[in-house]
């Protein structure tokens, strides 16, 4: 890995970001980039490494978000304490969704995941305990520091950075282990993988469980920061699509692809939202659509792939 110095430099820059500016918009932007990087990196485990393009990851995001707030509204727990519960719920849901859908291939799998996610959204929108269509609110004023309710986005930045580092560390380990090789084989072709003794369904499920747990954690972190959710902001299809686009833009199936994608996409999205205000949601869809078309047409490997081919070309020129 000749790229380690570069990676280190990148993380130092990310860590220094909130200290370089006093602008709350920019500080908040940093935290949002990291949050998007966490959920997209979590999605990447199943969607990128294993090549099973789920467009229903909002289910797991919502599991974390709702677990955190329903435990607060019902039992008065601090929202972050709901995170482990959300992760367990998400893994249980992953087992329920994954077991039948993993028998489907390609687009059929993706469509089934959309269906499962929409079903979850509609169920939650009619479920009183979960606030139905109105949603749930977190603690209006922090009761103690454990509520992790801060006015400044800076503490969130470091919390999210820590989680991202742990997740990427785990992913790196996974990538180098038998599991990493098996997932790559599954992405290359089920039939050939099975002929080499790869238990395809089992490994897809492992990847999905890990992916769901971290996506759920991202959901919990989101509500800890934002303090409010409704069915659209926690379970809407845009949540799922965003994970796919962030990962694909940066380079799905690569370690740093989702982070790169988040660094590009989130500022773009936040700026359009700021410029167009409340009427901006429609613009987000247009931006997402345009990005899908551009990636599919010019760089299916994403920015990471573009970077690789540039470095290869430079190395060749130098030689």
């Amino acid at each position: 890995m000749k790229q380690w110095p570069l990676v280190l430099l990148g993380f130092v820059a990310i860590a220094a970001w909130p200290l370089l500016t006093d602008d709350v918009f920019l500080q908040r932007l940093g935290a949002l980039v990291l949050l998007a990087a966490i959920s997209a990196s979590a999605w990447n485990l199943i969607g990128g490494y294993a090549g099973q393009v789920s467009i229903g990851h909002s289910v797991y995001f919502g599991a974390g978000a709702y677990a955190s707030l329903v435990l607060y509204t019902q039992l008065g727990w601090p929202p972050i304490a709901g995170a482990p519960v959300g992760m367990l719920v998400a893994m249980a849901l992953a087992a329920v969704v994954g077991t039948p859908t993993f028998r489907l291939r390609g687009h059929y799998f993706s469509m089934a995941t959309i269906a499962a996610a929409e079903l979850a959204r509609i169920l939650v929108a009619n479920w009183k305990l979960l606030g139905a269509a109105v949603g749930l609110m977190g603690p209006p004023v922090p009761r103690s520091v454990v509520d992790l309710s801060f006015i400044s986005p800076v503490p969130y930045h470091y919390l999210f950075l820590a989680v991202l580092v742990v997740l990427l560390g785990l992913t790196w380990q996974m990538q180098r282990s038998r599991m990493g090789y098996y997932l790559a084989a599954i992405r290359g072709g089920d039939r050939a993988a099975r002929s080499l003794g790869v238990p395809v369904l089992r490994y897809k499920l492992y990847a999905l469980l890990l992916s769901a747990a971290f996506t759920s954690l991202a959901g919990s972190l989101y509500v800890v920061m934002v303090g409010f959710i409704d069915p659209d902001s926690a379970l809407g299809i845009l949540i799922s699509v965003k994970m796919v686009i962030v990962a694909a833009l940066g380079g799905s199936g690569t370690l740093f692809g989702p982070l790169i994608g988040a660094i590009i996409l989130v500022p773009l999205e936040e700026t359009t939202n700021a410029v167009f205000g409340g009427s901006g949601t429609g613009v987000t869809y247009i931006v997402y659509g345009a990005i899908i078309v551009l990636i599919a047409r010019f760089r299916p490997g994403g920015v990471a792939d573009l970077w690789r081919s540039i470095t290869v070309r430079m190395a060749r020129r130098a030689a």
Partner: protein, 246 residues
């Protein structure tokens, strides 16, 4: 017997692609499955590999009933295969492809890499270890599939037209490789329609026609069997041949 297939029937609706075929494979031999296109040999082959489950019949491998076992269970038991159209893992390098096979019996990366390196040297792919699999041509891909299969440390290797589409020079190299694999004590079943390959490699040939085994025995004898000649060339050609024209 290493492998025993009894009364295998594979029906698609009313059509029987394989219609009551038997096969015995003894340890250490090379068996050729031959037959004209559509004879059912590939379907039969897929049943042996666990890729398709026969409508009726039983398959025993190393004494265990594997008729309904999954392909991954076949691999664990010691059966490996290649595909008619090679399916290499395109995003990975040649060495990484082979490591996927090696991981079956070695949980650690370093051990899997050692096995892969040994297999790459054995199959003559060591020079290409770090090239992406997607940059290989057909002969390279076919060789890589065999290497990957060998990395699972099989007792039985099933080769599905592993030599089809190769130039005569490449065929000679591939034949030499198959001989070296046999010398390692690995039993081989090879599906092929290039007669030359079967004649020079197989110790026994089994001829399929319309889903049935119509002849079995020494390749030379089988090729001259009137039933086999008819199956390949049709009745008309048989007459021509008798007349001494061919």
């Amino acid at each position: 017997m290493l492998l025993e297939a009894r009364g295998i029937i594979m029906a698609f609706g009313a059509f029987r692609a394989v219609d009551g075929a038997d096969l015995d494979v003894a340890e250490g031999e090379i068996i050729g499955l031959i037959g004209p296109n559509g004879a059912g040999k590939s379907t039969f082959f897929n049943c042996l590999a666990g890729d398709a489950q026969p409508t009726a019949g039983t398959i025993r491998f190393r004494g265990q009933d594997v008729t309904r076992a999954t392909p991954e269970a076949h691999a664990r038991l010691g059966m490996a295969r290649s595909f008619q159209v090679p399916v290499t893992f395109e995003d990975m390098t040649v060495a990484q492809n082979v490591m996927v096979g090696a991981f079956l019996r070695h949980g650690h990366r370093a051990a899997a890499r050692r096995v892969a390196d040994e297999v790459l040297a054995f199959t003559g792919l060591d020079q290409l270890a770090d090239t992406p699999a997607r940059s290989l041509g057909t002969p390279g891909r076919k060789r890589l599939e065999i290497a990957r299969a060998l990395a699972t440390e099989p007792q039985l290797l099933l080769l599905d037209e592993a030599l089809a589409g190769l130039t005569p020079a490449e065929v000679r190299l591939a034949i030499a490789l198959v001989r070296r694999i046999k010398a390692r004590g690995i039993t081989i079943v090879i599906v092929e329609h290039i007669m030359e390959v079967i004649l020079s490699l197989a110790e026994r040939a089994v001829v399929f026609h319309q889903g049935k085994v119509i002849a079995a025995g020494a390749p030379r004898a089988v090729v001259d069997d009137p039933a086999v000649v008819t199956a390949y060339l049709g009745h008309h050609m048989k007459r021509v041949r008798r007349g001494g024209v061919g």
